[in-house]
Amino acid sequence: MDIKFEGEHLLPGNLGQFFIILSFGTALLSAISYYFATVKDLQDNSWRNIGRIATRLNGISVIGIGACLFYIIYNHLFEYHYAWAHSSRSLPTYYIISSFWEGQEGSFWLWMFWQSVLANILVWRAKTWENSVLAIVMLSQVFLASMLLGVEIVGTRIGSSPFILLRDAIQGPIFSRPDYLTLIPDGNGLNPLLQNYWMVIHPPTLFLGFASMVVPFAYALGGLWEKRYKEWTSAALPWALFAVMILGTGIIMGSFWAYEALNFGGFWAWDPVENASIIPWLTLIAAVHVIIAYRHSGHSYFTATFLTLISFVLVLYASFLTRSGVLGETSVHSFTDLGMFGHLISYILGFLLLSVIFLVIRWKEMPISQKDEETYSREFWLFIGALVLALSCLQIIAFTSVPVFNAAFGTKIAPPPDVIAHYNKWQVPFAVVVAFVSGFAQFLKYKNTDYKKFFSTVIASLIVAALVTAGFVYLTKVYSNLMYIVLTFAAVFSIICNGRILLDSLKGKWKLAGSSVAHIGFAMLLVGALVAAATNDVISINNTGVGYGEEFAKENNPRENIMLYIDEPVKMDEYSVTYLGDSVVGPNTFYKVNYKILEGNKVKEEFNLYPNAQQNAKMRSIVASPDTRHYLLHDIYTHVSSVPLQEEQEGHEHEHEGDHDHEEEGYDAPVAHKVSVGDTVNYKNGYIVVKGVNRNATIEKIPLASGDIAVGMELEVINKSKKYTVTPLYLIKSGNVFDFAKTVDQEGLKLRFSKIDPAKNKLELTVYQKPAAEKKWIVMKAIKFPYINLFWGGTIIMVIGFLLSIFRRNKEVKTA
């Protein structure tokens, strides 16, 4: 039976689906054409030209998919599952962009979009590498496009289309009604945590990072394929640096979002999704270093190729972890399963196999040097540094993959009770080694170095570093743990060594500046992360609360939340903190919290923070976001942990039967007043004036017959400057008496015109009042993060360093 549905807009969906098929087809055509362009040694460029056209068309169709999806979400076409599931009418326009990639399909699109942009840049820039590199990039595009197909082939659905209709996605009786759309007034809306400006720019940056990792991969594989073993390294290096820079920026943006918008109180939580993004970053960083070592010395060819190849395979593995649902409850923000488990695995295996096959068949021909590197050479230590990075990455992979292991072998291994301590145990020593190597390797030369000179420079730097570290450790109070001191020392050493190189480069060897700037940034980032994570201090310690057994207090942290009543200052750390009230903006309630530092009776410093929470009365829960006061040397981070829940607003008018005088819920006992026109009645917050009587009142929807009487009592409720006019009604209909009460919610009042006493010519006004409002309160947590700006600042410096290196290596490609 075919139902003709009303009000659906099928054109944008059909058009979008067409673009998906087109993008899949053009990607396939392009990959095939470039494949033949690479393997066939023809004089004309016909295969290449087909590939070019297909790549361009692919770019256009990917943009077409995005435009259709945007149109659907922007116009609230809830007949589409994607719009219904990820947006709502009340969503501001700029967050429509975030709802775009809240779902898997949208984030796949984002990845596809960047990959097609990169492919088109490569068509333009890659020159002799165009054929082989684009064959590989477009093969990856084929896989991505297939993720969006959403078509059934021999009984199994391939991919998941963003243009699927709501009535096809979900079974429900309402979908048999032709007018079902009128029953769906609004979409599910965007997760409030994603309604943050960082969420508008963090995913595009991260996905540009992921997408650009395919380029060095394609160069490395193309190098093996076309037997251009040495050449690919110089062409791939700027791309690898670009990918590392963008992905690094994206990761840190995510970390900043977590710090600014989530209330878990930190910038890094070793969550599997965070790990998934840092794994390929670490391997590609390692790859960049060995590529440089190979280019200067001819050593470590295999390691360079292997790390470059594995980085992209790990990007695919990372997306498998976050998108297949395998992480289950171990992660807060992974996607749910869309039935693409096998599909994702085939993507990983496809590219893994390609890499392995080429490495095996070209093994004999690869320019692998048989000689050992000299111990006092830069290439040796670049190699060691890269290996340590790879090991650090291996530890993260092993740990993050526990759910995969459980799923594959049916085991039930649980994470350790303290996940962070487990990571620190391994990652801190790795970081120490990396920091030391990145410091002293700066004084080594390629091939061989005069070790006397080398040691004298290193020892001088070590002494300076030791002095600086002593001062810094004392200042930041990280001396509680020996490993922390060692890491600080290593990072300071790296800053000093690289600082010396930077000073030299300012005198003329400027092209070395990129790496030393990036290393300084990285070392600062390490120190900043260490200090902020090791010495952050919950300052909202509750010293007043009623205890619940000393047994409990002994083995647990001091209580970390404090209760604030409105307008009652509470002493917290050096601050006097007062909750001053709240204001509502859209779905958010902002709680105004005043911080003061008092010196005697003088206010030394004062500021307000506005942590907010989204209340959900239906679910009786809140979603809290922090607010932070930034200083140069520390941050004061504050979020609410608990607030009184607002009652759900009742939409309908309070009309009720008037012939019995039962007590109304939520109101104090009523008081009846005998009044005449012009009288005044007092209530708690103000007074009520009887302005007049309307003898010809009409009541909506109730027709009056002759003999029926409807009378309205015109009242003015006055509270200071505020004035409300209401008219409760009194009705005699067919001999029965009714009255219709009116409420003034703002004043907590309900007013009934309850009786007419014709004998005395008096009217009866019954006043119901709500009891005095409870004193407002919030429960709040505050954390002091010291030196967190070193972390953010280090990041920015590192990115600048990468940028300088890209310019330098790009110049080398041109001059080579």
Partner: protein, 136 residues
């Protein structure tokens, strides 16, 4: 021996250390009965007993939250958590606790819950629009 072989051996040794430590540090999912027998922290998986009261009164103590949970073997136990009540707690379908038994109460240091998220569940919230009827 060549330097590269030595490095190779060291790398393999560290790699094995990493993997062993991952599995050595891991704990197990247990039950309340097992928690009573051990002094170590462990994970207990179970469901919130929704028929019993959640004890959380921020006005009295903002850092005391207690509730009753039934573990996967059906044993019920009072759980005490040193902090505020997690958001959406009542709606949790499954709870994973990390902590240990103290007398007859399970003291949790971490609570992880699985919720039917509003933003993930495919359930159409239908709003029936009917003409308003007046009752009197």
């Amino acid at each position: 021996m060549k330097k590269s072989s030595i490095i190779g051996i060291i790398i393999i040794a560290i790699a094995i250390g990493v993997i062993i430590s991952t599995y050595a540090d891991s704990s197990t999912y247990g039950t309340f009965t097992e928690a009573k027998e051990t002094q170590d922290e462990l994970h207990v998986v179970g469901k919130l007993d929704k028929s019993k009261e959640l004890i959380y009164n921020p006005k009295k103590d903002a850092n005391y939250f207690a509730f009753y949970m039934t573990d996967n073997n059906g044993k019920e136990c009072k759980v005490v958590f040193n902090g505020t009540k997690p958001q959406d707690f009542e709606r949790s379908e499954q709870i994973v606790l990390t902590g240990k038994m103290v007398n007859d109460e399970f003291h949790a240091s971490k609570i992880l819950m699985k919720c039917p998220s509003k933003y993930k569940k495919d359930q159409v919230e239908v709003q029936e629009v009917t003409t308003a009827s007046v009752q009197y």
